[in-house]
Symmetry: C2
Subunit: 138 residues, 2 copies
């Protein structure tokens, strides 16, 4: 993977919002290559933008991933370790790990290793970016 994404200017919003949640674990320098969204109802999507957007929406197109993301987004302390995610979604540990990887590669969550465990946290700015794509016409 590691596609050379050059669609638009980068993650200024993500960094800015990330600093607004102090209790969230300082995420590892994993690069969140979240491209800025194109306004869906304003101008027609180009092919490259459509491919990028489709990839991010695809991360939300699975019930297990949506539940995982919801669990992370509603976590009291902002992060949950994998061992505490397996039971709630009712899937095997490899399956949960796979879905978390998909979410991470889509920039929707971040992971941080603390000792034996790995803690995942949602990235609110990434959801906000996708939200802007669905914004109504100005």
């Amino acid at each position: 993977m590691d596609p050379s994404i050059d669609c638009c200017q980068y993650k200024e919003g993500i960094v800015a919002v990330a600093t607004s949640s102090p209790t969230v674990v300082p995420t590892s320098p994993a690069q969140v290559d979240a491209c800025c969204p194109a306004p869906l109802q304003d101008t027609a999507l180009g092919e490259a933008e459509a491919v990028d957007l489709a990839r991010r929406f695809a991360a939300l197109s699975d019930p297990v991933r949506l539940r995982l993301l919801s669990l992370l987004a509603t976590a009291a302390d902002g992060a949950i370790c994998v061992c505490d995610l397996v039971e709630p979604v009712g899937k095997s540990q490899p399956t949960v790990s796979h879905h978390l990887k998909v979410l991470r590669e889509a920039g929707l969550v971040t992971s941080e290793k603390r000792g034996t465990n790995v803690w995942y946290a949602a990235v609110p700015a990434a959801l906000e970016a996708l939200r802007d794509v669905l914004a109504p016409r100005r």
Copy 2:
């Protein structure tokens, strides 16, 4: 079919548009148990809600469908016939028809037959409903 409409406005929009044309293809084949979106960052998603949401996000997980939806959402007169959608996306007519069906069954677009042609239009309220799911925590 035709259960009581007690959900969100996005469904009303579909019904309203659907009833305006008698020969319209039925938008959804009698399902939609949990239509109203749950706030993703407020409470943890249940399994049924997750399945329903995943189905709608899946409609946005394909580049061709995103471009079709964008074309419809930015249409000057609010609707485009199929014959004018085939060339812009660069796919065969059956493929375009297939993607439009997926979008229609997800409630994101509506179709109306006018003479020989079939005109598709975006449902802004459906996009707004999905947008609410991605809303930040209150």
